[in-house]
Structures are given as structure tokens and as C-alpha cells.
Symmetry: C2
Subunit: 312 residues, 2 copies
């Protein structure tokens, strides 16, 4: 259960007077979500999702919330933030930065079909296209400099063979530069638990709080490493091809992107291998996250090293 900050009906009703969304009927905590507190808020106008940010500060939110608004305005399936009477998307509630967004249909799918992978790929490309006109910028805080420095601090505590494998990957990635590839707004965390599906239709991408400006192909690789990965940890060829076909039906990869694709798949795996190692070896005091298994992404990276067919 991920309701870290409790909000009462009276407190919420008072806060809602800054909005034009009718009278509060009920609120209900949402169990899903790892980092923030979420509630369903029902008013006389409809259902919304209330998010209280447990880590991000109020002045860090405009990039993410204006991005979601921009993408929604362009027809990308994602929650649309609701603006208040000061035309702001966020303000303090119960001492935390808080926002309201539209409530989407659909649900998470643990074991997606190839058709669902294709739909996700298509929507990701639509998101990349729609991001072209978004004016704000945010650097990726978890790029190569971050993973190299973070890995360097962990080798000494890791099993020797795992450390050698990690070091090999960091050294491999240091020989690559992706700066010549098309860049734009990336979701950067488009795992299965951040997409709502309604049958084979994408009802919405959610949780844009890792979004940033980076190489578009990196986003495709992050998505593929999760969406096409089966229960056994192996990448399923059909799902990988479907996701790429969906993506390329909207935005065909360039020659440079195709050439960079094998190493980008490994870079995308490395990023989550390192962050999971960090969560494992350096758990934050009071951190409200599930520790996820770093081995999953070690296996992804090591299998990509041995792969010869990259589904292009």
C-alpha cells in the first residue's frame, strides 16, 4: 500500500476550492505506485487522480506536468494535469506538492501480447513526435557519467565475477557516443507498470517523473528490454519485433540509429542494472521502494552481448 501521506476529506475539499472540478464526493487511496502517494478523487464532474509527491519539490514539477499536458494536447495517451484558479498544475496539500490529473481507463498488463507490444511501440513513437514542440528541457540525471561513477563505487562490494561483468559493460559503453543520434523528450522508464492498456489499445503512459531530454533510441531500448522480456528473463523475439515494428510505423529509425541499436540495448540495460545495484547496496534510510533484483538487468545485458539478431 503506497499511501505515505494521509489526506482527509475536509482538507481535500478545502484544497479543491482552487479548482473548477465540482464538489468532492469521495477519495480512495491507490495501492499501486512506489514513490508517491496517489488517491482516486471523485467529484460531481468525474474521477481524477491526486498525486502527493514524496520526493520531488514543488519547483521541480513544472517540467513533468507541463510535459504531460503538452503530450495530452497532442493526442498522446497520458494523464492530463488539471490547472487551478492561478493556472498552476501543482500546489501544496498536507505539506506535500500535489497535483490532480485526469483518470484513464485501462490497466497494467504483466504478460503483454505481441499486439500490445506493437501498440506500445507505436504510442512511444507518437510521444517522441509530439515531444518535438515541447519547449522546456531537462537533462538526464542517470546517463553515462552517473552509471560510471555509481558503478565505480560498488565494484568492491560485489561478487568478483559480477563486478567484472559490470566493469566490462561500463568500459564498453565508454567507447560509444550517442550524441549524433536524434534526441527529444524521452519517458526513460516505460516499463510495463507505467502503461495502462485497454485490450490492444494503449490507454495511457503514466509516471513521467523520470522523463527528460535524451536520445530517442535510448527510450526504445528501455521499453523493449522490459516489454519483450518473458518470465524466464529472456527477450522474446516476436514481442521485440512487434514493439520495433509499431515504433517504426510512425518513426522509422535512421541509419545511425540502426547502427547504434545493439549497443543502445546494452546501455539501456546497464542503466537499470546500476540503479538496482545502488538500491541494493545503498538503500536510502526510510526509502519507500521495493528493492528490485539487479540480476534481471545483468542477464539482459549479458544476453545482448551474445546476441546476433537485433530484430531490425
Amino acid at each position: 500500500m503506497s499511501v505515505y501521506t494521509s489526506v482527509g476529506e475536509a482538507e481535500l475539499a478545502a484544497w479543491l476550492t482552487r479548482y473548477s472540478i465540482g464538489q468532492l464526493k469521495s477519495l480512495k487511496g491507490i495501492a499501486a505506485g512506489i514513490t508517491n502517494t496517489n488517491y482516486f478523487v471523485d467529484t460531481t464532474h468525474g474521477r481524477y487522480v491526486l498525486t502527493l509527491f514524496e520526493v520531488l519539490a514543488l519547483d521541480e514539477l513544472p517540467y513533468y506536468l507541463e510535459l504531460m499536458s503538452h503530450l495530452a494536447r497532442h493526442g498522446v495517451a497520458c494523464p492530463a494535469p488539471i490547472a487551478d484558479s492561478t493556472d498552476s498544475y501543482a500546489s501544496l496539500l498536507a505539506g506535500k506538492p500535489a497535483c490532480l490529473v485526469t483518470c484513464l481507463t485501462g490497466s497494467e498488463v504483466g504478460a503483454p501480447s505481441s499486439a500490445q507490444c506493437q501498440a506500445v511501440g507505436e504510442m512511444l513513437a507518437a510521444m517522441h513526435e509530439a515531444g518535438n514542440t515541447f519547449p522546456k528541457r531537462m537533462d538526464n540525471p542517470r546517463g553515462p557519467a552517473w552509471w560510471s561513477a555509481t558503478a565505480a563505487g560498488l565494484y568492491g562490494e560485489m561478487d568478483a565475477s559480477d563486478a567484472a561483468s559490470l566493469h566490462e559493460e561500463v568500459a564498453f559503453q565508454e567507447r560509444y557516443r550517442f550524441a549524433h543520434l536524434p534526441t527529444g523528450v524521452v519517458h526513460a522508464d516505460l516499463f510495463r507498470d507505467n502503461v495502462l492498456l485497454d485490450g490492444e489499445r494503449v490507454a495511457g503512459f503514466i509516471d513521467f517523473y523520470y522523463a527528460c531530454n535524451d536520445v530517442l533510441l535510448y527510450d526504445v531500448a528501455i521499453a523493449l528490454n522490459d516489454w519483450a522480456r518473458g518470465e524466464d528473463g529472456n527477450i522474446d523475439d516476436d514481442k521485440a519485433r512487434a514493439l520495433l515494428a509499431g515504433y517504426q510505423s510512425v518513426r522509422p529509425l535512421t541509419g545511425d540509429e540502426r547502427a547504434a541499436w545493439p549497443s543502445m540495448l546494452r546501455a539501456a540495460g546497464l542503466r537499470f542494472w546500476v540503479s538496482r545495484l545502488l538500491d541494493f547496496y545503498r538503500p536510502q534510510a526510510g526509502e519507500m521502494t521495493y528493492t528490485k533484483d539487479p540480476k534481471v538487468f545483468q542477464k539482459v545485458v549479458e544476453e545482448h552481448r551474445a546476441r546476433s539478431d537485433f530484430w531490425l
Copy 2:
């Protein structure tokens, strides 16, 4: 049937490449609508409404489309325009200015209940509040100067007693000034056929192409004159009270507004009495409108003259 401009699938599919809303699945003409051509457009991402503007020019659209986007962002139930790859809401299609908006649920209700009138009143007040932060402005082209000049050109052709009654009303309104009342964005045409209802919930206000900046109370009076009017042409007391109660649950009327209310109800009736007389006596060549009965609003105005209880 109100499809004045035909659009083919190939032509539409080519135009849709400027959007990030997936691949065209089908399009279907919409019979409702008097002035513009509307289609349902189904894509792999969902259902949208395509409007081709038969009268408004491309450079006249930003006020209306940005207003709808602003209101939707603030949680007011209305269609949200979809932006294209140039971040524009409209461009030419089949030689006409055209836009895509989100498709709402709900349907028109010919004989609304009091609860529905209350919900409409509440949403109208929410719209007025949300309009406070909308930066663009548009004068009302059909204000007192317009109805006085228009009526003056019609008296000679009208039945003498009708002309006398119209003249009496124009003269009455010329003695009133509403400039001291709260102003803002008004829909200015919130009749039953411009609201979609889903049970007792307002699913959406539509057809914002008469919206402008004017006295807020005028919008309340326009809505009441239609929503509370029964089959017999009389205003139903319960529905009138319900609409006002819904409105005032969000934005209580000021003392000045309460004092102006009886004459404002007549002003709102006069505006449609005159426009319907104009359509009747001066039908535009090739105009694609149903001629609506001017007597309906003559009766509304004359009954308001005789009324003593204005439901406040």
C-alpha cells in the same frame, strides 16, 4: 444531415500525418450540427471529432480553440482540441479550416430534469471561474448595439403588434447598462443542443463558436431561458431554481447581479428573438441553417415582463 464538405479516407489519412494520434481506421459523418461539418474519426488511438468550418476563417479559430483547450485543462467538461506537429489546433482540409477534438460521452437531452438543470448551472459557473485566467479576448458581436440596429431594420416588415412589442423591449433595454457587472468568458449559446449529458452529469459543453467576453450574468440568463423552458414555452419554476442553485453553489451572484437579473433575462431573450427574426426576414443565400421560430423568444420576453418571481 449536416455534412456540407465531404472528406475522403485517403485525403484524411494524409492530413492526419500531421498529428500523433495513430492510424486512421474509419470516418463517419455526424448528422447533428447546423453550421459546420462534423465527422467521427476513429484511429488506432481512439475516437475524435473532426470539424470543418463552413463559415469561420482559419485566422478566426484560435480564440475558440485555445479557449476550449484552456477550459478542458481546468477540468471544465468540453472537447479538448488536438494540437498538430506545428503545435497548431487547426489547418486546412478539403479547402476548409479544420480541427480535431476529443470525443465526449453523453448525449443531448430534449426535456431535462431539474437535477440536470442544476448540473448545467454548476458547470456553467465552473466554466466562468476557469475562464478568469484565459488571456485572449473577443467582443460580443451580438450585443445591444447589434440588436437595436437589427430590430430597427425589421419593424416595417413585422406584424404591427409584434413590432410594437419588439420596439418596447429594445427601448427598455436601452435604459439599462450592465457594464458594472462581473465579466469574463461566456459561452453565449448554451442551449440544450450544445450540452452533452450522461445521466445527471454534464459530459460536455460543445459548440463554443459564439463564445466571447461579456457579462457573466448574460450567459446564465441565456442558459435559463432555454433549459428551464418547457414544451409549452413557459419557464418551469423548479428547473429555473435548480439551474440558479447549481450556478450559485459555485459562484453566488453579487448584489448588483441580483438587481440586474430580471432585466438580464429579458436581454438574453431579446438577443435570440432578434437573431431569429433576422434569419426569418433576411435568410442568407445558401445559408445552411434551420429557420427557428422567433415567436418562442417573443413569448419568453413577454412572460419575463409580466413575471414577479425571478427564482432568486
